[in-house]
Symmetry: C2
Subunit: 299 residues, 2 copies
Amino acid sequence: MSTLVLGTVALDTVKTPFGLRKQILGGSAVHFAMSARLFVPVNLVAIVGKDFPQQYIDFLNRKGVILTSLIRAEGKTFKWQGEYKEDMEVAYTLNTELGVLTGFRPCLTEQQKKMEYIFLANIDPELQQHLLNHLYSPRMVALDSMNYWIEHKRKVLMRLLRDVDIYVANEEEARALSGELHLVKAAKRLRSLGPKMILIKRGQHGVLFYSDNFIFSIPAYPTEKIVDPTGAGDTFAGGFMGYLASKRRMDKIDLKRAVVYGAIAASFNVEDFGVNRTAKLTLKDLNDRLFKFKECVLF
Amino acid sequence: MSTLVLGTVALDTVKTPFGLRKQILGGSAVHFAMSARLFVPVNLVAIVGKDFPQQYIDFLNRKGVILTSLIRAEGKTFKWQGEYKEDMEVAYTLNTELGVLTGFRPCLTEQQKKMEYIFLANIDPELQQHLLNHLYSPRMVALDSMNYWIEHKRKVLMRLLRDVDIYVANEEEARALSGELHLVKAAKRLRSLGPKMILIKRGQHGVLFYSDNFIFSIPAYPTEKIVDPTGAGDTFAGGFMGYLASKRRMDKIDLKRAVVYGAIAASFNVEDFGVNRTAKLTLKDLNDRLFKFKECVLF
């Protein structure tokens, strides 16, 4: 079983208290792929410009990411510039250049249209809907978004929510879309908008999973090393979806385990800039840390 | 085995989005007692004024709290007035009247001086040191404080930290005293100041326990009902200390279990104003919710 992700491939310029990195490989689809690939093959649906370095294409190929539906278009690659202050919790966006993203129209192969485990990473909800319309028999569709779309394309997003199985959001997004400050209430409200499962990513506070059947809450892995949190949420989603796609089951135990794998993958992501750490990640690394995590959270 | 708590008995005026309550029973020692009493007898060392309602004395007596060292002095009882906004995370202090607290000098009976499980709840660190000096053979001393003392009596507090086993703090206090923003780093730094164990209360984000041997992190019980968070931290400490005092052991399993009992007790505290909910709490309630909590956090 493989998975398909629609999202961005970006050149990120990131400043954190640990340094500055210019135009490094980033984007929601890339971060997702770095952890999902540990479990299943990942089909990446995205667009880059002619300025996108060949070395990054080679890198993604080496990592086994399937690039059949990565479009290389005339124009500039999507660029994001951001900064994290001492608390490392909030990303302050300094600049965004959409570039080729503005003319992006996702295009799938016949084989990809048959895929079952789909992650609609943060991107214009109209593109997410477009892709969803072309799938033959999705088994599990997870949707991520961001405050910009919640504010500017709320209607499209609300429509889309009715068609997905899982809504993945950070605390701020969950509150903005639900209108509830309290996270459990927010999750409940989001559930009523359509998705059977709600995943709230809480950064250094862990993850909250909500469904009609059960609530599951875990703290973050208590790491001391946080160098760059960019992409942690997508890395989480990659671990979560990758694990479920590899199991082809979704009972309570699998879902809980998927959440934990996602959280562990994210804990590696933050340890270095961009995909530096997750590029080197192995399933053994994940399992070793899972063992340590259990020590820290089980009783 | 019984426990002894030094702290405040207060008349709290609390406003939250769920209502306003005037001069209700509160204070760090009272909230601690409400959960610790479920495990062991609690000796309360505190002071109230002549205005302190007899009905509250009767109430504490009915709950089995030992009031031998509760002084009733000429003057007014300590009063705190605070407000919580929609997020229910931060208590905004509107007014504080110290009253008889200013002249308080804790006084123990001979029997109390022999006590082994001690909680120095938030109060002037000089009083905490004074009490500590009068104990014959404390087995476990936990210390709580607040930003006011960290700022104004740092030296006394630093001295005191070298003599206690556990330092209990909320996130803000842990960061202020350690100078570290990252919580695991903060805990590590606090450990270096003396206490073998550090407990960081994270409100709706759970609890972090740090020691040289292990780290333990749990999310909060995912309750929807938060009516008044006042005293949640002391209720947590009461569950934690009460459980340990009842076990008279402090291995890893006991410590983890104590943290969980504390967190569960705190989750009840926030469900109603003051001690309304914890006054009715039974060990069965705690164990029932512990069972549900396991469902939500174990995997």
